[in-house]
């Protein structure tokens, strides 16, 4: 059952991300992206990462995609439906590059997690049973990984200041 659902959502995610690349207008591309994010969140649920699935929906689909939507509407894009896929030799070249990349990835991933015992899943299930879905992530985040967490806060501060300065009318 879980595997079947995983295949359904994986197919949805792949189809929607192809839609992101081929959609003609930026709005259509963005809506395909929201669909892909929802499908990826569903695969997170199936992989027992419930809190991350919620964060994916709330932060990614709810905040970041709306930011993109604001910018698309602010710039009033999407009226000039000219073909903006690069044509000719470049498309063939990039198709070859991407195909090579896909081949290499497939080679690397062949049996990557094949017969390794799923120790991580047991650990995570024990932590979730003891501290709950949020606590299982929050405990290591605020103890072992507290320094990267603080650095992330500084990164967000810099990004806020940078965005305000860059988008100001007369710098």
């Amino acid at each position: 059952m879980v595997t079947v659902l995983f295949y359904v959502f994986a197919t949805l995610a792949i189809g929607a991300s192809i839609g992101v690349v081929v959609a003609r207008s930026p709005i259509g591309s963005l809506l395909f992206m929201v669909t892909a994010l929802g499908a990826i969140a569903a695969t997170f649920v199936l992989m027992e990462a419930h809190f991350l699935a919620a964060v994916q929906i709330i932060v990614y689909a709810g905040a970041i995609m709306v930011l993109f939507l604001f910018v698309i509407m602010l710039l009033n894009l999407g009226h000039d439906y000219e073909r903006d896929l690069k044509g000719g030799g470049f498309a063939v070249l990039s198709f070859a590059v991407v195909g090579g990349m896909a081949g290499l990835l497939a080679r690397q991933l062949q049996g990557a997690g094949g017969d390794a015992p799923a120790l991580g899943a047991q650990q995570i299930q024990a932590a979730v049973a003891e501290y709950g879905a949020v606590g299982a992530i929050a405990r290591p985040l605020y103890t072992t990984y507290v320094v990267p967490f603080e650095i992330t806060g500084i990164l967000l501060l810099v990004a806020i200041v940078g965005a305000v300065v860059l988008a100001k009318r007369d710098v």
């Binding site: 995610a13 991300s17 992206m33 990614y60 905040a63 896929l85 990039s94 990004a159 965005a163 988008a167």
Partner: protein, 97 residues
């Protein structure tokens, strides 16, 4: 499940790379970069099933970096749009020879 998730991650990453390479609209290129970041998140979650909760924590950091990148990148796109009245990267040829 882990193997399927890794394959899904690879496919999404490749689609995102192709989008960055072939589209000319700067905003859609950004969306494709977000798609690549999401592909990496899928791989992290899959590996957290094998090696422990650290994978899920790193997904948090990736999401934060994605948010920061979106904010700064969209600000850059807005300020470029004020100069050129377009977001088509073909017109940004100041550094081309």
């Amino acid at each position: 499940m882990v193997n399927e998730a890794l394959v899904l991650s690879a496919i999404l990453f490749v689609i995102g790379t192709f989008g960055v390479l072939v589209r000319r609209n700067a905003i859609i290129m950004f969306l494709c970069i977000e798609l690549q970041l999401n592909a990496v998140n899928v791989a992290f979650v899959a590996f957290s099933n094998l090696f422990g909760i650290e994978g899920q924590i790193f997904v948090f950091f990736v999401m934060t970096v994605a948010a920061a990148e979106a904010a700064v990148g969209l600000a850059i796109i807005i300020s470029i749009f004020r100069h050129y009245e377009t977001v088509d990267v073909n017109n940004f040829n100041l550094l081309k020879w």
